[in-house]
Amino acid sequence: MDDPQTPTPADAGEMRALLHRRRFLGAGALGAAGAVATAAAIPLALAQQDAGLAAPEAPGTPQPGAGPALLRGYVSLSPFQAAVLEAACERLIPADDLGPGAKEAGVVVFIDRQLANEQAGFRGPYYRQGPFTPGEPTQGDQSIMTVRERFRIGILGLEGEAQSRFGQGFAAISPARQEAILADLEQGKPDTFGSASLVTPPTEGAPGSLADLAPPVAIPARAFFTMLLSYTQAGFFADPIHGGNLGMAGWRLIGFPGAQLGYAGWIGKHGEEFTGTYQSLADVQGFAHHEGE
């Protein structure tokens, strides 16, 4: 069958043509928004490979200011929720001499975007049919509760722990006190927490109004901590196109060069430091590269 959708993928010349077409289409589609399709690294590398040479790490072409301004905002979290999460995530990955922490790296923006998809767990689509009956630890979590609900309740739990121990909300207490709470959660102390932990409303308001009115709901504290840590590290290390890892801060910390076409010229250079340009999938896709995004 002659299927134009399935070229011989190995034909580098054809791949170049396809990529060129794709970039051309991409530029057309994005043109109205002012995006510039850059001459990305792929054709060069393929050409080198074609000639029997190692593919070098050709950088995307930075064109600061040429692309659309990206709006960053929360689609799932309220400002209160974002503030508590920012404080907690920053303790899990603090800013220090080694580089930015979770807050500066946009980890909460990443988490916020993930929470907008209520059908997915950390590892993707989630089997969501009952009965929902707890089982053995080797059988995994059996709750129907979405990740978004778990975050909503866990954030109230963090706030409640801070209030009951230190008389202030989580975002307001000192980093050392925040760390103490998180370290306890990691050990399963308290066993469960949530809105039931609140002493006063989470934001300033009529004393007692929310604490009195909110029906208590709680989740296991240790499981929340594990989930928070997983999402925080994911937001620190996922490609910046997902909203976190701003400036590729997480990648730069550990020496992960990001979305590279490949290392055919490097794989045999044992022990040598990679000196190519770090890049995001956005660079590979031909989007203009914005410093700091």
Partner: protein, 591 residues
């Protein structure tokens, strides 16, 4: 419900096994009209993988290429006395979803099984006596020999462009290859891939303590390669986004870069994507076709003269059970075979024989690599070492691989005692991510009476059909095996590698479905020499339904200490050959 125009051959599942059989039948029997059902989408190098796959969050973590658990999952318990629960999230294994199957996202480690492994019970009882094996093990011979399979291993390796170094050519040992492998009729079609730093440090350490390391065979094409069907693989770029991802360079051998474009090019194969088979229709003497939900969810029935079931281990087993084909296995009564001999792989994550090493003065560049990019030793696989004075049987291949470690899942592991978060964690990932290597035993998972699959009595898929229930746990045999290998093999190699820090483990707690471990899930429709002890014969033909063939890992009587795909491919070629050369002429059960 619609009934569609009759076809000659109907294939359920278009992965390695289904793709090979479709291609062979289309090439060799031009008169056949062949239809294939595949539950997932058709995704190819272009337009799907060429630029968009370098995304760990989307593919590595969120499993975009894998079976959609929202539609269908499995339930699991460690033993009969427990009540099973659904695997709600990934997950110990990652079944594929889509044309090309799990081999779209595999890493490409491609072995042949050891010759005696095809007569494993006979071999062990002959060498050690009838009382050597644990009473509850149900390992058995396959009904096919390595010698019979060798031409089909060769055909698979030529078609998939496997890269490696032969250790045994027609009985003559070859320096640099695996001295334990069975005789090959010819060298690998491609030389080994360029191997990263970490594995070469393992190679040197293993050689120093007296082992014979060799390049792990790889389906990551090291150069442009045109296979006997005229399909061309690209050259691997060592991008490090391999296991879990489609290949942007068309360099990972998968059905989508080999047998499926070849099959489609004949014009005699039609693939219906997004089509979920739910029943093999039959009259008790022969299969008549398959009922399925099409891409829009409507029920359809497709009749055919020949049905090939190649839908991966879990769905092969579930479809036979849902269709009332064969007798469901009952462990208490010891009756039936469908669902019997579920086996797995002692892996490298939560339990198993695992070694991590770190050097403060060596950059290992773990982000580079290809799925199968390493060195292995085979001295401690299966029965390659004398078990006479040991209290277990079995073993595994031991390898150090550099598949590319992206940081969400691969920023660790970190040296023992490293903090899990905070400034100390940050310092540790900064210091050690790129200065480490790990090696592990991929251990055997023998078959046992109490480990099996059946239909879950409670949980159902998105269409209302019962889910498959897995009852599985490790036994003391594997626990002793893993401990022995960790202490006696991994530990000395780790020491010889002179690391700054090391962490060698040999624990095997109760099997836990939650963390990823291995997608090497076998058994359930096992092959053998008699309907008393098997579901299919060694050609995959269902006893009593001679026009229904089953292909894939579900036919393995037990799993080996190797990745299974090479053997899946070889068996599929043998099945296709039997159908094309004999069954189409004579029909009936093949001897």
């Amino acid at each position: 419900m619609a009934t569609l125009p009759h076809v000659d051959v109907l294939i359920v599942g278009m992965g390695v096994a289904g793709g090979i059989i479709a291609n062979e039948l289309a090439k060799r029997s031009p008169g056949l009209k062949i239809v294939a059902l595949e539950r997932g989408p058709y995704r190819a190098t272009w337009p799907d993988f060429i630029q968009d796959h370098f995304d760990e969050w989307r593919f590595g973590v969120q499993s975009e290429l894998h079976q959609n658990l929202a539609n269908v999952t499995v339930t699991f318990r460690n033993k009969d006395a427990q009540s099973a629960r659904p695997m709600r999230q990934y997950g110990a294994f990652k079944p594929g979803n889509g044309v090309g199957g799990a081999a779209v996202h595999w890493n490409g480690v491609s072995w042949r099984y050891l010759p005696y492994f095809f007569e494993y019970r006979t071999h062990l009882e002959t060498r050690y006596g009838k009382t050597f094996l644990p009473e509850d093990t149900t390992i058995q011979d396959w009904g096919v020999s390595y010698e019979e399979l060798e031409p089909f291993y060769t055909q698979y390796e030529q078609t998939f462009g496997i890269a490696g170094k032969a250790g045994n050519l027609n009985g003559a040992l070859q320096p640099g290859g695996n001295p334990f492998e069975g005789p090959r009729s010819t060298e690998y079609p491609q030389p080994p891939v360029t191997i990263a730093y970490g594995p070469t440090l393992f190679r040197d350490g293993a050689a120093k303590v007296g082992h014979q390391p060799f390049p792990q065979p790889s389906a990551n094409s090291p150069a442009r390669y045109t296979n006997p069907d005229g399909q061309t693989l690209g050259a691997c770029n060592y991008c490090g986004f391999c296991a879990g991802y489609g290949c942007h360079a068309g360099a990972k051998a998968s059905p989508m870069t080999t047998v499926i474009p070849s099959a489609l090019a004949t014009g005699r194969v039609e693939i219906r994507q997004l089509s979920n088979a739910f029943r093999i229709d039959h009259d008790g003497k022969k299969a008549t076709g398959v009922s399925y939900y099409d891409a829009s969810g409507q029920e359809q029935t497709q009749t055919a003269d020949l049905v090939v079931l190649s839908a991966w281990t879990l769905e092969n087993t579930r479809l036979l059970l849902l269709s009332g084909i064969g007798e469901a296995y009952d462990p208490a009564a010891g009756t039936g075979n469908v669902g019997r001999n579920y086996t797995y792989q002692t892996g490298a994550v939560v339990g198993g024989a695992i070694a991590n090493v770190w050097w403060e003065d060596k950059l290992t560049n773990r982000f580079m690599g290809s799925g199968s990019n390493g060195y292995a030793i085979d001295e401690f696989n299966s029965d390659n070492f004398d078990h006479k004075d040991l209290d277990f049987f079995g073993g595994g291949s031991i390898a150090c691989n550099n598949p590319g470690s992206a940081p969400i899942l691969g920023s660790g592991p970190l040296p023992p005692g490293s903090p899990r978060w905070g400034a100390g964690w940050k310092q540790a990932v900064h210091d050690w991510y790129n200065r480490s290597a790990f090696f592990t035993m991929q251990g055997e998972s023998p078959a046992y009476r109490q480990n099996y699959m059946d239909l879950d009595p409670t949980y159902r898929d998105a269409w209302g059909n019962p889910l498959l229930r897995i009852t599985f746990n490790w036994t003391d045999n594997e626990r002793k095996m893993v401990r022995y290998i960790a202490d006696n093999v991994l530990q000395p190699i780790a020491d010889a590698m002179a690391p700054t820090h090391k962490d060698v483990r040999g624990d095997l707690p109760d099997f836990d479905i939650t963390p990823y471990q291995s997608t090497h899930v076998q058994g359930g429709t096992i092959m053998g020499t008699s309907p008393e002890t098997s579901v299919v014969n060694s050609h995959g033909q269902v006893w009593g339904l001679p026009n229904l063939f089953v292909a894939g890992g579900s036919t393995f009587p037990q799993n080996a200490g190797y990745n299974p795909t090479g053997t899946v491919g070889a068996l599929a070629y043998r099945t296709a050959d039997a159908i094309a050369s004999r069954w189409l002429k004579d029909g009936g059960m093949l001897g």
